[in-house]
Symmetry: C2
Subunit: 95 residues, 2 copies
């Protein structure tokens, strides 16, 4: 579908992509985590996309198996969750 192609293009064109919701604290924490690391993620706020928001969330679920936010993509390595992201970054910090 066209929306699926848009998502695939977004996550390959941008090294870091966060699908987020503006009022979600977990999403805010992931966005500030990246900022603290000096990384500017490409952020898509699903709650600000009108009717397309829920559609995008469905496409993400189809592509990643995850229906929650924040949904994080890094350099084509999909990490999805704040929990997994923090583990990876802690790992990276210790190597």
């Amino acid at each position: 579908s066209r929306l699926e192609e848009t998502v695939k293009k977004t996550v390959t064109d941008n090294p870091v992509v966060v699908y987020s919701k503006t009022w979600c604290s977990y999403s805010s924490e992931v966005k500030s985590l990246f900022n603290r690391l000096g990384v500017q993620p490409h952020v898509i706020e699903l709650d600000q996309m009108g009717a397309q928001g829920p559609q995008l969330q469905k496409v993400l679920e189809r592509l990643t198996g995850q229906h929650t936010v924040p949904n994080v993509f890094i350099e084509t390595v999909k990490l999805h969750r704040k929990g997994e992201l923090e583990a990876l970054l802690t790992d990276a910090k210790n190597t």
Copy 2:
């Protein structure tokens, strides 16, 4: 208003009350925090109350100045936020 009276009655009748949303991770964390402490909070899931949910959230804002979840009440001492709650409990643990 009648909804305001309902809220006042709820937070005085119950030692611990959490106004929450089922899909919100911050709300989940506060609920499990209480469970780990052996406390059974009285939980109101605002997203499961149909049209009354947003109305309740408005009433809570009027009564507490807070429009976010989780909104926590303990023994008539309103703590509101997960952040403040954790600080208080850390404090309590250290005394």
